[in-house]
Amino acid sequence: QQQVKQSPQSLIVQKGGISIINCAYENTAFDYFPWYQQFPGKGPALLIAIRPDVSEKKEGRFTISFNKSAKQFSLHIMDSQPGDSATYFCAASMLDTGNQFYFGTGTSLTVIP
């Protein structure tokens, strides 16, 4: 059973556009929601993370929007650049389960010049 559901599977965006990736979860015990970026041949790298006590977190061009009642969160990449082309994973974990993260299935983002 997929604990975190991610969509879309792939996304093509023009340079300068906004990329939006969505995730949904069922387990209300989750209390930490990171987004990871992965380039081919590399391990995932943390982009930004949020806890459920806030509805939005912004770091540079990356913003997480969090809707606790809907059990959904999304990543917005503003002014998307070709260098943002990568696979993005959402994840979730519970504070008392250490580093056991449940990852989504990933979104392959392509930003075309």
Binding site: G41, A91, M94, T97, G98, N99, F101, F103, G104
Partner: protein, 113 residues
């Protein structure tokens, strides 16, 4: 500073064999986690070790085992390899045992023939 280092980078084994994967965490990091990433999927949690003790185990068979050494490096062992064990095995380190920022290595690509 060196990041998380994993060895080997690639490995080819045949069914039934045994494999050992190695990981060196970032200096100062005492927690190591192992994840399996099947092609086209998100990483799946296998183990977490903190201060040489197992802190968590994912839904993997007993053929999978791991340990952490006094210098905080870790190894993942898989016995009786199956074709389905073919995947990218990722090691991640973090500063403490709780859900903190994970720093992933580039992984070991295991192919089972």
């Amino acid at each position: 500073d060196a990041g998380v280092t994993q060895s080997p980078t690639h490995l080819i084994k045949t069914r039934g064999q045994h494999v050992t994967l190695r990981c060196s965490p970032i200096s100062g990091h005492k927690s190591v986690s192992w994840y399996q990433q099947v092609l086209g999927q998100g990483p799946q949690f296998i183990f977490q070790y903190y201060e040489k003790e197992e802190r968590g185990r994912g839904n993997f068979p007993d053929r999978f085992s791991a340990r952490q050494f006094p210098n905080y490096s870790s190894e993942l062992n898989v016995n009786a390899l199956l074709l389905g064990d073919s995947a990218l095995y990722l090691c991640a380190s973090s500063l403490q045992g709780g859900p903190k920022k994970l720093f992933f290595g580039s992984g070991t690509q295991l192919s089972v023939l």
